[in-house]
């Protein structure tokens, strides 16, 4: 199974990553791509700053990917998570799941992002339009619930 996990500050290309997953093969029938973007929170936000735990971020996402691979008949899987300063409209995270059929691809992509949200060691802080550094984003209970539906 093709598995790609990258933690980087640079932007990524969802198209190039999808092509890398599917090129030259005839067994992939479905690719689901989730892209998480930075919102401007109604104009209040100038940027998000993403801190991460190098080493553990890759390891933890690897463990989450392995769970997904054990659970669904996947043909490929890509997770790219950015860190550093990210402006509204920019991409933060990409999850790709490829399978022969759509249900496995949808479920695996949804599982991966639910787990990433609550298990991958990343923390967001807001930088506001008024120039101040805002609070660290608080964990959402909705994200915990989203993860729990998989167990």
């Amino acid at each position: 199974m093709a598995r790609t996990i990258r933690i980087q500050s640079e932007p990524f290309s969802a198209a190039a990553e999808t092509a890398a997953l599917t090129e030259g093969r005839g067994d992939v029938g479905a690719v689901v791509a989730f892209t998480g973007l930075c919102r401007d929170e109604g104009g209040r936000l100038k940027a998000l700053e993403l801190e991460h735990y190098p080493g553990m971020a890759e390891a933890e996402i690897g463990r989450i990917a392995e769970q997904a691979e054990n659970r669904w008949p996947l043909l490929g899987l890509t997770v790219i998570h950015r860190f550093g300063r990210i402006s509204p409209g920019e991409e933060i995270v990409l999850v790709l799941a490829a399978s022969a059929h759509r249900q496995a691809a949808f479920e695996a992509a949804s599982f991966l992002i639910d787990y990433l949200k609550t298990r991958a060691p990343f923390w967001k802080r807001e930088h506001l339009e008024d120039g101040t550094v805002g609070a660290w984003v608080e964990a959402r209970e909705a994200d915990d619930r989203a993860m729990e539906r998989w167990s």
């Binding site: 801190e51 609550t118 060691p121 990343f122």
Partner: protein
């Protein structure tokens, strides 16, 4: 043993990492937290709500009861907000 801190735990402690010698009797993550809180008010502040701060041993999430035996790097951080 290396301790590393992230996000507001790092800010409250006032450092990104440090090396510590564990005294006798500190065998679990919970005991480490208790010992750290005795070292100064920055630690007291960082760990004021023990139910909130998360821990990892050598890049793996652990609970407060986890043993420190064999650990090289202990991390403390708030609930994750990536994705």
């Amino acid at each position: 043993m290396k301790l590393v801190y992230f996000a507001w735990v790092r800010e409250r402690v006032g450092r990104t990492d440090e090396e510590v010698e564990l005294p006798e009797g500190v065998g679990t993550v919970a005991e480490l937290v208790r010992w750290l809180k005795g070292r100064g008010e920055e630690y007291e502040y960082a760990f004021e709500n023990e139910g909130i701060v998360r821990a990892a041993i050598d890049h793996v999430h652990v609970k407060l009861e986890a043993s420190l035996a064999g650990a090289r790097e202990i991390a403390f951080f708030p609930p994750m907000t990536g994705g």
